[in-house]
Amino acid sequence: MSRVVIDRLSHAFTSRKEKLAVLDKLSFEVYPEEVVTILGPSGCGKSTLLRCLAGLLVPSEGTIEIDGQFPATLRQKKELGFGFQEPSLMDWRTVADNIALPSELGIQNGVPSELKRRLDDMLNIIQMTDFRRHYPSQLSAGMKHRTALARALILEPKVLLLDEPLAGLDLLTRRELMGQISILLERQKCTTVIVTHSVEEAIFWGDRVILLTHRPASIMQIVEHRERHPRTLTYAESIEFHNLVDQCSDMILGLSQRTNE
């Protein structure tokens, strides 16, 4: 299982006129099989951090190592799964074909029968077996998100990165998917980093919650949370869970007030 080490990571977007610092000397580790959630105010650089972790962006300063390798190397070996904010499904491919897409790209290193087994298994977990031949236009928003999640997990990645996996969904669907994602994370046992701006989601999924400050983001606080996975919606109703949510919310509100002053 993989260990992610982020060391003094800084990133700035530069244009001809200005330099916009987004990340400021972030250092932390994500241990094997751990789920770390990144929580912070909107526009603080959470998604930029995730893109750096995926090797889609080269950071201005600092290093990221996954088991001693650069993220780009892991990506080429297809050992990295990424779930985008938007499901980004292909309208011309069925649910099954969308999920299987990663196996068709880059180096072809999968065994077809094994892939088929994993695909069936994944469809079963996300409760979409009956929809395998449907097209994205025939799915609800929640189903699209579940399909995108299955696509990120189909190659059984060592590291899973999820960017706001429930963005744009209604409250009921969010609740339902929160539980399903927790089950998936328990089954896959991969090192996971999830970015979200929802305090509830961050606490529900994370073994540790990293709270970021406003841009340029630095680490404000790390909250430990050792409740076993899979976490159920009953747990989300517990006093312990709500206390943690309140604690994190207070920290974020305190930060906002200090920024406004």
Partner: protein, 247 residues
């Protein structure tokens, strides 16, 4: 298909034809100014019009122009979408080519390629390449906003990205360009036939206008419009078939 979609346009056409027929007869409009639809119909079926001969020539030139122009447009659109240097070097000229009046380019093409079939097909192709080129380019570019990072994450090669994401995403744009081309191909061929030919619908129109044979001029016009609509219908059907298979 909704029956209204067929019945309403046909009813409108019949109403216009009826009004036209009655108005021209009541007002005694001279036949060389505006012939009644019945005179146009007579001209269509008149053997001296040689409609089959002229139409088959124009169809050949239009189909050839449509295929060559669309293929060149698609290839150029793909090159522009794939290469930044190609965009820098050629995009302004591709856009500029759309401003060239086809009536002005036709005599030049005839000078370069002679009075035969080829020059008329080239004019038709020239008119067809731009819509497909720009539409394909736009569709291929737009795919980037949705799928670029997804394919980067899984280490996709350029050809995988082109074949699995960009081209399928751009298909509606490509079909939109092809539908425009369906009518442009006929226009290009007809305009090219205005110059130095002895056959084709364009030649027929020029010949009829010199002789003040307005019903026959209208007959060629009606057939060329019908040709354009038929080509459009074929492309529309291809798009319908494609979408049923893939969506």
């Amino acid at each position: 298909m909704n029956k209204k979609k067929i019945i309403v346009p046909i009813a409108v056409l019949l109403a216009v034809l009826a009004t036209w027929e009655i108005a021209t007869r009541l007002a005694n409009v001279p036949i060389y100014v505006l012939p009644a639809p019945s005179y146009v119909a007579q001209a269509i079926f008149d053997p001296r019009t040689q409609l089959l001969k002229h139409t088959s020539i124009t169809v050949g030139e239009s189909v050839c122009g449509l295929l060559i122009g669309s293929l060149v447009g698609l290839c150029l659109g793909m090159i522009l979408a794939e290469s930044k240097s190609a965009r820098l070097a050629f995009l302004p000229y591709v856009i500029g080519s759309n401003a060239v009046p086809v009536v002005a380019i036709a005599p030049l093409v005839v000078m370069w390629f002679g009075y035969g079939f080829l020059s008329r097909a080239v004019v038709s192709a020239f008119l067809c390449f731009f819509p497909l080129c720009i539409n394909a380019y736009r569709g291929l570019q737009e795919a980037d906003t949705h799928f670029r990072e997804l394919f980067d994450v899984y280490g996709a090669t350029r050809s995988q990205y082109l074949l699995k994401a960009r081209l399928p995403y751009a298909m509606p744009f490509i079909f939109a360009g092809a539908k425009l081309n369906a009518t442009y191909a006929v226009i290009g061929a007809v305009v090219a036939e205005f110059i130095g030919t002895t056959a084709g619908l364009g030649y027929g129109m020029v010949h009829a206008s010199y002789n003040l044979d307005t019903p026959r001029l209208w007959a060629y016009l009606v057939v060329s419009i019908t040709l354009g609509i038929s080509f459009y219908g074929i492309v529309w059907f291809l798009e319908f078939w494609y979408r049923r298979r893939h969506e």
